[in-house]
């Protein structure tokens, strides 16, 4: 569940991938069909004054599939598609499949993703207050109190040439923050079908 919720926020980022100086501009710009990138997640633990680094790679499709591969500190692959969430634990080689019909919350998650992936400013505006605090950065603040509990705000930072996302910053409660910094971003790369399969055990 926590994994799925956090990955949802990443979807959000790629739903708004594009460049513009106002939220509406950013959302209106064309988005690539597939985005692939490497990432470094840095989890800031406020109380401990400590950072935890998680590295890996991801592939996101506009039609709703996401591959989230973590290489360190532990190996895992998570695939989300329309029907299910598949998680492969690279350490134990165990596979867990959560189907939408058995876990209603996965459906709720999907519905939220649909909203975000639509890139429809009206739909997003209903959920978030959208601002551009500085050039190339989109700031989203949840309107819903329940969502605010999960994250205070999300910031999406575009690369200097505005062709890709450079980073996503999720501020949970001021003290605890999560930054996902992307590198080697490829728009519409050529993918093998294996990308949407879990690794063999």
């Amino acid at each position: 569940m926590p994994r799925a919720l956090m990955l949802t926020l990443c979807f959000l980022a790629f739903a708004v991938a594009g460049a513009g100086e106002t939220p509406a501009d950013m959302l209106k710009l064309a988005r690539p069909r597939v985005v692939a990138a490497d990432f470094v997640q840095t989890r800031r633990l406020g109380e401990l004054d400590m950072d935890i680094r998680i590295t890996g790679s991801m592939v996101s499709e506009l039609d709703g599939r996401l591959r989230w591969q973590v290489d360190s500190p532990v190996r895992s692959v998570t695939l989300i598609d329309r029907e299910k969430l598949t998680h492969f634990d690279g350490e134990t080689k165990q596979l867990a499949v959560i189907r939408q019909e058995t876990f209603p919350w996965l459906k709720v998650l999907r519905d939220s993703l649909d909203d975000w992936l639509s890139g429809d400013p009206e739909r997003l505006e209903k959920r978030f207050v959208l601002t551009v605090p500085r050039p190339g950065t989109l700031h989203l603040e949840p309107r819903d109190a329940a969502q605010k509990k999960l994250c205070r705000s999300v910031e999406i930072e575009l690369a200097p040439d505005k062709s890709a996302i450079a980073a996503i910053r999720i501020d949970e409660n001021g003290e605890n923050r999560l930054e996902i910094r992307f590198s080697r971003v490829r728009n519409d790369p050529v993918l093998t079908p294996d990308v949407w399969r879990v690794p063999s055990r």
Partner: protein, 986 residues
């Protein structure tokens, strides 16, 4: 004692006819009493104290009919669903069988969408009208649009019939139930099919009694008749507890044929060899049987119901008395037959009295079956001893020819000292082996099940095919006059458990009383007004969202009809589950709920049942049963066992009056136990309850050998014990040795204990005891004692830490982490409540103040799972994503985690005090009840909180980079595996 025995023998000899006549008359009266007065039972609950909990467990075991299930599995090499018509027909045939009930093949209708849509009809019975307050017509319209946008069949009906998600609670219950049962099914079929479509199943229940082998055979024939002829390529397998009845019977038949045949031949050979065909020797086993009959007759006047298994166990105990007859048989010959027989009075009295003392204490347990066993065994043994002394001489021929069993020289040979030393060494080796054998013991009830491997393999294959992997399931069962009363009671228990954070998987419907009350509330004019208002608001919302205005009308029509309806019917799937979980046949109805069989759940359920003083509800689970035995029976036996052994020893001290003689008398017992333990250690034999019971018999027999041996040393001119001991050992070994050919664990376990044990005890009684009694034997005794002490102390000595030579080398192995405040990051896997979860642990530990600040991060998404902690007593808080759904077990885990990290990472207070070298490791004793085991391979282990093995244990590898930590109950138990990736000082 000898004088009294001589007087008795003389008196009986004078009035031979009268005495035997009285005995015959008493035997007839006892037999009549046993037949006409005796009421016998096989109820296992008599084996437990008559507490509220045991009464409830055993009555619910009967009422819940959990053992009645029969599963017919159809295995096909290809797609089994091709044979759906055949399976349907077979189910119909099974339904007509008088031996079966509740036959289920289809568990839901063909159209799951229709079934889901029909849930609206349940709303006025399952829900209160308050749900209307939270219905948003706008959200309903939006959700309907979302559903319609999804290109899947059946969603239109679903969207129209489920606007407000009222079905979610029911679906959650079904999901919980699905998780609890752990069944693997292909959901696309309305009947039971595995996801690979190779197996199908028909479920049924039978009224056949589990232990009735003939009825089980008839049932299986009936099942095969109904299932025949099988389609080509399809195999039928019957999975049922009844298979164990037939399996056990099959194994026992084979064992009886082989073991019985072998022991019969051995007994005949012994009889012909030792007694030279003297038919009067047959009185030896008959007299203990007669004593048992007299006791049984007497017991019918004291006990309202006598447990049959007590008679069986007591009969085995009475078998000890055969040895008394053998001694009398050996002594009663020639002109001074009476004098020699009277000399047996003291050892016979003492051996019977020690056995009786042990059993007498069983009577103090307050448990019905043990009280009966104490009376039966004690009285039978006492009567057997008296009859052996008084009646047996009247029935024997004093002028028969004598023959020695083994023509061995009576004088000690030169090899005896060596033999004694070897025996001492063996006994000493047995001490460490004893603890290993005890560790390896299997005292579960399953260990008594002799079901053949083929049936077990079939059941395992069935479980693998039909069940998802996971832990055991526990059942909470409640009974009542009818199903509704049972369900009401169960619902009350579930409500109490939910307050403790435990949610059992309940039957998916509320009791009818609640359903009726809900429906009445829906029929009020206010509610009708609210429904009408909501329907109108929905129409407006539909218009606003460009949906047809009457889009939700089918929902409101179905709801209105359901409010007006009078029935309590359920959709097919719920009906199937309801029938499985609420059993209404039998004298009392029962309802069951399921939950994982974890120690925390067992504790919570037992506490709730105790608080509610539930007489008609019980926890039926492996874990619960073990806890019940441990708490209600275990505690009583520990004290009484010590008392009974102590009293037997005291009796020996009082009669023999010399501690040295008591020790000598106990030598065969030590030898017997050493032989059994070493045999078990070398062969890997696992101790079972049957073996434990055989060990009690062995102790009794071996102690008797010791008593006779000591008495012979005192009166060598009157007593000759070598032949009778050899003969009695030979008869026991002839019976027990043949059991080694058995496949049934009960028979094999008995043979495996008695055969080596009796051989060793007999040799010790005949050779070792006389040797130890001589002056040179004292040296052997000293060697024996020293060897035992050496092994008990672990072949090593403890040295103060300050003077221990290797302390400089060992100290760094216990200083794995800095003494100054430090930080670490570790990939951590926690296992608790049968679950595992992995997180990245970030912690700051201050060994000076004991402050532990920590956080857990999901290693995939980076989500914060928990953070906080601090001073001792402060627990971390679950993160936002966990806070709402954190199970009770997780919260307890978080509470315990900081304290456990202190135990793992802080060692500075545990100052080493002493070291002791063992074979595989060095033990370092420290302050604060902590000890270190430093292994030769570099592994270190820290234990604490307990005397022997400790309440917690941390194992360090790679210089402390990898840690396995385990924490045992009775508190909250779990384990942690940490792989430290980073560690640095602040």
């Amino acid at each position: 004692m000898t004088e009294l025995a001589a007087h008795l023998i003389r008196a009986c000899g004078r009035h031979r006819a009268l005495f035997l006549g009285v005995l015959a008359l008493l035997g007839v009266l006892a037999a009549l009493a046993a037949v006409f007065r005796g009421r016998f039972t096989n109820d296992l609950d008599r084996l437990f104290p008559a507490t509220r909990e045991t009464r409830a467990v055993f009555s619910l075991l009967h009422d819940a009919h959990l053992a009645d299930a029969v599963q017919l599995e159809f295995i096909s090499g290809s797609d089994v669903t091709r044979h759906a018509a055949y399976l349907e027909e077979t189910a119909r045939k099974l339904e007509k069988s008088p031996m079966l009930r509740q036959v289920t093949f289809r568990y839901r209708s063909d159209d799951p969408g229709a079934e889901l849509a029909s849930f609206v009809a349940l709303a006025p019975r399952f829900l209160t009208p308050e749900v209307l307050e939270n219905c948003s017509p706008d959200a309903a319209a939006k959700n309907a649009l979302k559903k319609l946008a999804f290109p899947a069949p059946g969603l239109v009906r679903q969207a129209r019939m489920q606007p407000f998600g009222w079905e979610r609670d029911l679906l959650t219950r079904l999901r919980e139930l699905d998780e609890a049962t752990g069944m693997r099914l292909a959901p696309e079929f309305p009947f039971f099919v595995t996801p690979d479509r190779r197996r199908a199943m028909i479920l049924a229940e039978t009224s056949v009694r589990l232990g009735d082998a003939d009825a089980v055979r008839r049932l299986f024939a009936e099942l095969r008749r109904c299932a025949g002829p099988l389609p080509e390529g399809v195999e039928l397998r019957i999975i049922s507890g009844c298979s164990h009845t037939l399996g056990n019977e099959e194994v026992l038949k084979r064992d009886a044929a082989i073991s019985g045949g072998v022991s019969l031949v051995l007994f005949l050979l012994l009889f012909l060899w030792a007694c030279r065909g003297d038919r009067r020797a047959l009185w030896i086993p008959l007299l203990p049987l007669y004593a048992s009959l007299l006791t049984l007759g007497a017991m019918t006047f004291f006990f309202r119901e006598i447990c049959l298994y007590v008679i069986g166990l007591g009969g085995c105990v009475t078998g000890l008395a055969v040895d008394q007859g053998i001694h009398v048989y050996a002594a009663f010959h020639g002109g001074d037959a009476e004098r020699r027989t009277a000399a047996l009075g003291l050892p016979m009295f003492l051996s019977a009295a020690t056995s009786i003392a042990v059993f007498a204490f069983l009577g103090l347990t307050g448990i019905s079956a043990y009280r009966q066993l104490a009376v039966f065994a004690g009285l039978s043994l006492a009567l057997s001893a008296v009859l052996a002394l008084t009646a047996l001489p009247l029935l024997l021929d004093r002028d028969r020819e004598r023959r020695r069993i083994l023509p061995l020289p009576a004088a000690p040979g030169t090899g005896r000292r060596s033999a004694a030393l070897i025996a001492a060494a063996v006994a000493a080796l047995a001490v460490p082996a004893f603890f290993r054998v005890l560790d390896n013991a299997d005292l579960s009830l399953e260990s008594l099940d002799g079901t053949p491997e083929k049936i077990r393999a079939g059941e395992l294959d069935f479980r693998r095919a039909w069940r998802r992997t996971g832990g055991e399931t526990a059942v909470i069962a409640s009974s009542g006059a009818d199903g509704e009363e049972a369900l009401e009671r169960l619902s009350g228990i579930a409500a109490d458990l939910e307050r403790r954070g435990i949610r059992p998987a309940m039957p998916p419907r509320p009791p009818r009383r609640v359903q009726a009350a809900n429906r009445r509330a829906w029929r009020t004019p206010e509610t009708a007004g609210k429904i009408a208002k909501l329907a109108e608001a929905c129409r407006i919302s539909c218009r606003r969202h460009h949906l047809p205005e009457k889009f939700f009308d089918p929902f409101f029509a179905a709801l209105t009809a359901a409010v007006a309806a009078e029935d309590f019917s359920l959709p097919p799937m719920l009906e199937h589950i309801d029938r499985k979980m609420i059993k209404t046949h039998g004298v009392r109805a029962a309802a069951v709920a399921l939950l994982p069989d974890t120690p925390e759940n067992v504790r919570a359920v037992r506490a709730v049942l105790e608080n509610r003083r539930e007489e008609h509800s019980a926890l039926l689970s492996r874990g619960g049963f073990q806890a019940l035995i441990r708490e209600t029976a275990g505690g009583r036996f520990r004290h009484l066992l010590v008392l009974s052994v102590g009293s037997a020893l005291l009796l020996m001290v009082l009669v023999l009056r010399r501690a040295g003689d008591v020790l000598l008398a106990m030598t065969p017992v030590a030898a017997a136990w050493a032989a059994v333990v070493l045999t078990a250690f070398l062969t890997g034999f696992r101790v079972t309850p049957a073996a434990a019971f055989a060990a009690i018999l062995l102790t009794g027999l071996a102690a008797d050998y010791g008593i006779y041996a000591v008495c012979q040393l005192r009166r060598p001119e009157e007593l000759e014990i070598r032949d009778p001991i050899l003969l009695s050992a030979a008869t026991t070994v002839a019976g027990a040795g043949a059991l080694l050919a058995s496949r049934h664990p009960v028979l094999f376990g008995t043979g495996a204990v008695l055969t080596p044990g009796i051989l060793a005890a007999c040799l010790a009684g005949v050779f070792l005891v006389p040797h130890l009694a001589r002056p040179e034997g004292k040296k052997t005794l000293a060697v024996l004692g020293a060897a035992i002490l050496l092994f008990v102390s672990g072949c090593s000595h403890t040295a103060p830490w300050e003077t221990y030579p290797q302390r400089e080398l060992l100290a760094p192995r216990m200083r794995l982490y800095p003494d100054a405040p430090f930080r670490l990051q570790a990939v951590t896997e926690a296992s608790f409540s049968g679950r595992r979860f992995r997180f990245v642990l970030a912690a700051e530990i201050d060994p000076g103040t004991g402050k532990v600040l920590l956080a857990g991060v999901d290693p995939g998404s980076g989500a914060l799972l928990f953070d906080g902690g601090g001073k001792p007593g402060e627990a971390p808080r679950p993160g936002t994503v966990l806070a709402e759904n954190a199970p009770g077990g997780l919260l307890k885990f978080l509470e315990a985690l900081p304290g456990d990290l202190r135990q793992i990472f802080i060692s500075k207070d545990a100052k080493p005090l002493a070291a002791e070298e063992k074979t595989e490791y060095i033990v370092v004793y420290s302050e604060k009840d902590v000890l270190w085991l430093l292994f030769r391979d570099g592994t270190a282990e820290k234990r604490g909180g307990g005397f022997f093995s400790g309440a917690w244990r941390a194992e360090y590898r790679d210089g402390g980079r990898r840690v396995h930590y385990g924490r045992r109950g009775p508190g909250y138990g779990y384990s942690l595996d940490l792989e430290i990736r980073k560690l640095w000082c602040k």
